[in-house]
Amino acid sequence: MNALLLVIIPLVGAGVAALWPNNRTRPWLLPIVGLAHVVLTGWMFLDPPEVASNAWLAFDPLARAVLPAVSLLFLVCAAYGVTYLQIRSERPNRVFVALLLAVLGLLSAGHQARHLGLLWIATEGVTLAAVPLLHFNATPRAYEATWKYLLVGGTGIALSLLGSFCLGYASLHGGGGGDLTFVALMSQGAGLSRPWVLTAWVLLLVGYGTKMGLAPMHTWKPDAYGEAPGIVGAILAGGVTTVAFTAILRIRAVIAAAGEGPIADRTLLAIGLFSMLVAALFLLGTRDFKRMLAYSSVEHMGILSVGAALGGPGLAAALFHVWTNGLTKGTLFLSAGNIRRAAGSPSMDQVRGMAVLTPRSAAIFVTGMFAVTALPPFGPFFSELQLVRAALAGGHGTASAVFLGCLLLAFFGLTRVVFGIVDGRPRTAARANGKRFVETAGVIAPPLVLLGMSLWLGLCTPEILREAWAAAVAQLFPTSTP
């Protein structure tokens, strides 16, 4: 029931927002609903409800291991959103607020979906609901970005639907009832017909990989993140990608149950490393600090899928990384949003000396950059180290070498861009613009809070979180866990 509530509350909120008359007070719905969502999630996190095995929508261990992170991220972004929408008061925000809340609801649905079809519906729903958020700025560039997001993402999502059908048919052909709940599919296990399972795996991996933004299906990402408001970018990077990742995890479990685990892991490892490599190469050259964030996100999606490919310990590390990366990315997106707004351009050819114009945001941005490039004591350091350790323990020497090499290249790229815009003396044009942008608590506190959370996650990871991740691992590897 509560599982359903997690979906319904935001959707209701969305409805209210759609009807709410006042453009100035409407944004407050965001933090209110977000808070409610966090409270409910937190409560369910602390005492996890019984999960009926045939339930389609349930707060199962995997959801428990991931959804709270998304919920927290959303709450902070919502708080930021209030100030942001006040700054952007010239634009009507009815659609924006309503759909942002809808996205939250659908995200909750997607994380908790235990049925392949339902999962697909939720993901597609998120994809569509995000569209108006992307072109909130209503510039031609924004529309172009949305168009690409829609068609590339749509193609991907279509393929994943095809994949879902294939999996269903695999179950039919294997003599099952074609029941698309993961429990049923896993229990059918080796009974699934092999060719269909493999076809399904490829289609689903590409499909959900597109949503996740794995190379080479990542092409929509820099455009979308580059043109969307920072808050949307944060939620896309921290929430939507996570849904896709959990989807892949659930499916991978089915494939493993069907006895094709090794192949699935190989493909995951390959595509993960490839994504990291591509992202690193793009980071080395890109000159736009919002697109930079997109590529960095591609890199971290690669890290996640590498982690997923490494079995138990790697998966635990990957779930850890979902949290740390999500929160740290949030910091970066929000502070980058401030800088973008103050500087009036996202390109390091125009932007210089932000340390002078927006000292606080610049400081947060730099710190966040160090955090996301695995500088202790921030979260990503611990999750990535744990991941490397898992890889080495699993005997993936070359893989970890490539992994670390890509991290290094990415570090070069990120530092280049970030210091490029922070240092130096600001352009006079930017000065005028920067005067207009005031670093109020409303735009500084949220990224700072996220940074703090990332720090806290790293330094003293709560035991209960580790347990949650372990439980999720146990759910996805029923055999391999003692």
């Binding site: 079809g117 569209v131 529309y143 172009e144 193609t155 269903g168 052909h173 074609g178 269909w196």
Partner: protein, 214 residues
């Protein structure tokens, strides 16, 4: 009944080729929408023993959506942008025709590799689906006009729908209608964006949509 079904599927595959070969957008949309209607009919034929209201509902929705609503949307956009033909596609019409044909053959070949249940063995569903998906991809890749790309995307979805028919018995109504809903909404959204682009760039030529790049 398999014969009738296969006939329809064959027809759909033929429409794919038509869509690939036609330079005029109206005929492309025409083909696409007709294909949509055919798909709408198929479940009725497959399940003709025990028809019930839900099947009817789905069929109706499909026909209405794929066959009527969406095409009208696209036609509107087309008129607004006053274009009626694909000027210079990335892949010419003859090549894309050949590609489509090759795709169809490949589809038949591929479908041999995938084992089917006896009751589906005689059906052209799988090759038909694959063929449409491939067609969709060719259109997405080969066409420069936004509208023809949308058509390509829709044909791709038709292919998937075609495949979905294999599961028509097993998948519960909620799921199917949900999927259907999503797809329709998706197309609506695409339609809206096409319209916005038309306003922002007053053209639907995707060659103009290359501002975002490294």
């Amino acid at each position: 009944m398999n014969e009738t079904l296969n006939l329809l599927i064959g027809l759909a595959m033929g429409l794919n080729l038509l869509a690939l070969g036609s330079s005029r957008l109206p005929s492309l949309i025409q083909a696409m929408s007709f294909q949509g209607m055919l798909l709408g009919l198929m479940p009725l034929i497959m399940e003709h023993e025990h028809l019930d209201w839900r099947l009817g509902l789905i069929a109706l929705a499909t026909i209405a959506g794929k066959g009527v609503v969406i095409p009208t949307l696209l036609r509107r956009a087309m008129r607004a942008a006053n274009i009626d033909r694909e000027i210079e596609p990335f892949i010419g019409f003859v090549p894309s025709l050949l590609l489509g044909a090759a795709g169809t053959i490949a589809a038949v070949a591929l479908s041999q590799a995938l084992p089917l249940l006896p009751e589906h063995a005689g059906l052209l569903l799988v090759p038909g689906a694959i063929a449409s998906v491939l067609t969709g991809f060719v259109l997405l890749i080969g066409r420069a006009e936004a509208i023809s790309q949308v058509c390509g995307y829709l044909i791709l979805e038709n292919g998937i729908y075609l495949f979905g028919l294999l599961l028509i018995r097993s998948t519960p109504l909620v799921v199917e209608s949900g999927i259907l809903l999503d797809v329709t909404v998706g197309v609506f959204v695409i339609g809206i964006i096409v319209d916005r682009i038309q306003r922002a760039f007053d053209s639907l030529d995707t060659r103009k949509l290359t501002a975002l790049r490294e």
